[in-house]
């Protein structure tokens, strides 16, 4: 016997075909309704909606190099001058830009060692190239003064003056043994969510 028998005379009966078609149509409609109900009621969840973009720029200052930090601060102050809301997040080596001093009191040995090896503030950071054991930055500062270019400490002051928010990453501070009294006044503290909540609505976000 063949696996696909030819249709017999009874299957070709018009009344039976019409009955079968009605059954199929009804079943398909029932299944579609079941699917359509939940779909039309479903609302996009808040986590998948695109955030409204604010006139905001955020900068992550990760590098502790004078040249890179200068770029970060020039962009931040430039954005502030454009009327943008600007925030800078300082993490790892970048924290050097907002330090005012290094203190060793009441610190663990590892934290004291960190303090010895890290720059005490924006005036003592090295350059990413041509550092020459610390002579490079001095040379750069001399050349920049000659050419009337703002130094890194000048730019930090300008950022504060133009309303740029400076946020220190608390985890990095903990790792590096940096305490709030070592940072300049007016600094805010936060974690990655503080940055992300700001950055997801920002038109510009940079990692420097």
């Amino acid at each position: 016997m063949s696996r696909h028998p030819e249709p017999t005379a009874t299957v070709a009966d018009p009344a039976l075909i019409e009955y079968a078609e009605r059954l199929v149509t009804a079943k398909v409609a029932e299944r579609l309704d079941a699917l359509n109900g939940p779909l039309s009621q479903a609302e996009p969840s808040p986590s998948t909606t695109a955030p409204q973009l604010a006139n905001r720029a955020t900068v992550v200052a990760f590098s502790g190099d004078m040249d890179k930090l200068m770029a970060a601060f020039i962009i931040a102050t430039g954005a502030a001058a454009l009327g943008m809301e600007v925030s800078m997040y300082f993490t790892f080596w970048g924290l050097a830009a907002i330090k005012k001093r290094t203190s060793f009191r009441r610190k663990k040995v590892t934290e004291k060692l960190m303090g010895l090896m890290l720059p005490s503030g924006p005036a003592t950071v090295g350059t990413s190239k041509m550092n020459l054991l610390g002579m490079g930055p001095a040379f750069f500062r001399y050349v920049m003064k000659k050419k009337n270019v703002q130094t890194l400490p000048d730019l930090v002051a300008l950022a504060r003056q133009t309303g740029v928010r400076l946020v220190a990453c608390q985890m990095s501070m903990d790792v590096m043994g940096i305490t709030p009294d070592e940072l300049i006044d007016g600094v805010e503290y936060g974690g990655v969510t503080t940055y992300l909540a700001d950055a997801r609505e920002a038109r510009i976000t940079l990692f420097i």
């Binding site: 020039i74 454009l82 009337n148």
Partner: protein, 91 residues
């Protein structure tokens, strides 16, 4: 204002004038934006600068903020006359 500057008619009629000579990026634009904040809409600001990036930065700043650049000349130094725009949402 320095004594060595010859006051131009535009400078004399401007509501405020700003000497940005010897200032480098981003200071001239930062100073202009700070000065503009203190001004009323329609007031004019005269600026003199010698930063090499001044012209292109000023044009970009005007485009982004909506303030008006009424005049710009390059010699002997760069001189610009700006007019503060009405607050956003006007017209």
């Amino acid at each position: 204002m320095n004594a060595d500057t010859q006051a131009t008619p535009e400078q004399r009629t401007a509501d405020l004038s700003l000497d940005c000579r010897e200032l480098r990026c981003p200071l001239p634009i930062v100073k202009i934006s700070q000065a503009m904040k203190e001004m009323a809409s329609g007031q004019t600001l005269w600026v003199e600068a010698d930063d090499p990036a001044f012209e292109s930065d000023l044009e970009a700043w005007v485009r982004a903020t909506g303030h008006e650049l009424l005049q710009f000349s390059e010699s002997p130094t760069q001189r610009a006359l700006l007019r503060k725009a009405p607050p956003a949402g006007w017209s």
